[in-house]
Subunit: 587 residues, 2 copies
Amino acid sequence: MSEIKIGDYIIKRLVQLGTRSIQGVPGDFNMAFLDLIEDSEDVVWVGNANELNAAYSADGYSRIKGTVAALVTTFGVGELSAINGVAGAFSERVPVVHIVGVPSTSAQGAHSLLHHTLGDGRFGAFANMSKEISQASTLLQSPDGAAQEVDRVLTIAARDARPVYIALPTDLVHKKISSKGLATPLSVEVPANDEKAEKYVLNVATKHIEDAKRAVILVDACAIRHHCIQETKDLIEKSGLPVFSTPMGKTAIDEDHAQYGGIYVGSITSNEVRQIVERSDVLITVGALKSDFNTGNFTYRTPKESTVELHTDHTTIGYSHYPGIGMKGLLPKLAERLSRSREKRLKVTKQILPKFDNILPQDEGEDKETITQAYFWPRMGKFFRPKDQIIVETGTSSFGMLEAKLPRSSMFVAQILWGSIGWSVGATLGVALAAREEKLGKTCLFVGDGSLQLTAQEIGTMIRQGLKPFLFVLSNDGYEIERQIHGPERVYNNIAPWNHSLLLDLMSAPTSEDVTRVSASHKCDPKPSKKKYYAVRTKNELDQLLDDPTFNAGKEIQLIEVFMKRGDAPTALKRQAQATSCANKYE
Amino acid sequence: MSEIKIGDYIIKRLVQLGTRSIQGVPGDFNMAFLDLIEDSEDVVWVGNANELNAAYSADGYSRIKGTVAALVTTFGVGELSAINGVAGAFSERVPVVHIVGVPSTSAQGAHSLLHHTLGDGRFGAFANMSKEISQASTLLQSPDGAAQEVDRVLTIAARDARPVYIALPTDLVHKKISSKGLATPLSVEVPANDEKAEKYVLNVATKHIEDAKRAVILVDACAIRHHCIQETKDLIEKSGLPVFSTPMGKTAIDEDHAQYGGIYVGSITSNEVRQIVERSDVLITVGALKSDFNTGNFTYRTPKESTVELHTDHTTIGYSHYPGIGMKGLLPKLAERLSRSREKRLKVTKQILPKFDNILPQDEGEDKETITQAYFWPRMGKFFRPKDQIIVETGTSSFGMLEAKLPRSSMFVAQILWGSIGWSVGATLGVALAAREEKLGKTCLFVGDGSLQLTAQEIGTMIRQGLKPFLFVLSNDGYEIERQIHGPERVYNNIAPWNHSLLLDLMSAPTSEDVTRVSASHKCDPKPSKKKYYAVRTKNELDQLLDDPTFNAGKEIQLIEVFMKRGDAPTALKRQAQATSCANKYE
């Protein structure tokens, strides 16, 4: 019987699931595993600048690849630095396996006073902390059953689209186990629905929708996370119904689709879209995730009795709840049933559907030259091309980009529920790595000058890895989303001013060859990116740059500093900020 | 009866304890509290670049001020980003109060699907995580009892020298409570020892030490953390015994003290020191914290029966354990008892004490010009002046600086137990803030090019706050401590190469005035530091710079890039790395 090291077993499973890049930071308790990663021909080690960034990057990578991403850190110090990034993946339903190199089983058993411990012998404290934000955990203690444990947690990660945690002691990494299990890939499909129950639900749902005169489909996050995009598209096309998207569902359905009408976010939606969605007599939601920022602060107006909610593991129709009936199985059958009246519905859809397009504001008066928020986002919408990935920081960028119509097969990547400041910069690295592997289009980041500072060092990793994303930095003198919510003139919303023109040059090798990088370990260094900085101050400058073929070709990593007015914000953000401010009110 | 807002009550208590600077990052759930901080005349808000750095900075601030430092973050995203820094404070026994702005009590009660939540209604998850690394927590839910809860946790933080956690809901910050309690400052003294038990222990300890011919005192971390430095000094001077220090106890006793002989770290100590400590017939440890990196991987050679261990809350003599008998009360009495034979002991001490000094290596052959590790650390030892603070990153710097003799009243600041990479950069901000408040000497950071990248953005906060630390960056092409432990030619120990000459310029306002900072919120901006970069490649260049009066004056923030050879390491690190590698062995 052939044998394999436990560490290699984990790598093989990750590769089977589709992972090629592994993120993290070395530490003395994980280097035995890093040896195997570095020696593997199937995966690449991405050395991140710090662990939080690595977690954000794994999150971004997973979103594009649609599979389990891997993050490797070291016991205590490393894993806790990453934990906010993993919590974000839990919140946003992104499968990341967090593999933590931990002290040897004997050191743990002896409760030794090791570095990277709390000094009180509690070796389990960090795993306890991770449990709160993991769908499953395993603390490997012996080669016996190790393969089964690895398989168990990886299957849960993939199936539930949530992070899992593996503690890998130094003395087990190179221990041999049977490789037999690897012959059978992990089964990560969701279980089929109970046939009879599904048929019943199908009848009820079909009747509900067929009785409706103006049903509407609303696509949300979990359609993406649980891989139901094709099924949803079939439902739309076979039913002939109009479809809208929530912010977290943006680009699940191509925004140039003939039945697509734009973004619905409750009360902060444009009037046109709101009227159609809120006047519908049945609202069919696919993969709904009704968080405050995803629903205009819980302001859907559709009565409960008129909704059909299709979820990953349950269905609700009006007030009836059908546990265990998931959308993966239900969607194709419902699409089939609804196809009978497709033409009739399509006619109505075409009549009522608002036109969603990138419309630039005309004549902005005193802001004739200034790059306003109202101008910037639809202008960016015209810049993108199919298969581009558009990563937006929570705040000005995530709300602003809702107003842009994005091209087909592009991907809108945002962290609207967890909303951790600085996430987008780390995520951009992972997105860019995945895009290179999958041969996608441009990777474009939109981040404010405040958020950028939290995670800026990861741009160095992008350069080192030879990646060439477009980094749009919105320079508006601080934390604008916070100012919109509270304290527009408060000092605490200011930041240390940076000279962004130097950022790319800082994070690349000095041209003066001060450092002679002669070690053998540099033999296979990837070719670092060339780099270019642009300052853009007027609409005209922006237009010229965005139309420049060299710029569009993206042969270098490009940082575009867009100077915008402090206090200006996208309309959707202004409305959301008012609602949040009201919810947080203290006087 | 006069009333005060809960938020102001917390601020007043912090001020009473001695805190003037509060660290953190704004978020929508903490801005109500930040308003009060900004409006207070007693404290200053330090807006950090990110939360982990803020936690590190609070840690550094607390170490210098010797009191509870405050860290303010926002629910979920902010607090989890900071949690590794707080865990470090727990491990290293540094009192930090982590105040987290959380959603309103009503939103928590309704389990709303808010941004910054896990999306499953578990509002308690983050507080649960912090419990593992906090000495006490309080989740404020009502004005009733809020003052008592705040007092309770702050008292524990100060008394136990550990972090505590306060969850402060948005709707409670401005609620009024009685201010009566503030008239009585918190009692943070450790409780007195039981008189009879203490006397018994005193007799046993005195007999033990008086019977000894060659007793030795070893000062460690907890003598510093639990404010027993003066008592320890009295013990040394009244007993006439020789004193050594562990790495974590370095500078607790002035290194030019007549009875001080240097650093003891088990088997990795210099032979001279080792012989005296290990041939002692009684080893008196004060505040011992026997972690691997603090003991040369557990290689003390003193037999258990010959030790007297004085701890914060207990004492051990040989195999006898005396719980509840703490050193704060015991030390002065023991000193008094031992003073009888002071002269006799002092004579022996002077005979046997090795000379600890900064001795430069002579004639390094092919490294005549190269700045070697053997040269650098004693050379730096000659540079420092009384009251300087010397912050060292775990790794090359922390082990290297052990070899330097530091001037009296200087402070060695290191994170030897927790050892979180990047900590020193954040900590330097807090140390520099505290040093300015306390009018101390130069703030000097020693960090490698690898560690720097994890937390580099906090240098922007230093500049913004007008601080002028000396930032020594050891440029040696990657993670040298990891290379010493494992994989010297592994790619995973490489880093993205940076052009450090641009770092200070990046993190300060562009000179071109691209950003017009006209908002009223900038009215009271502190004057940012001027800045200067130096590249130092040879011994000669280093000597010249360190002797330059302008450089020494430190009127600007100065980044000194010291080019050193990859693969070179301080002797103590080489020995420790071997031991760690052996403990982590996997084949």
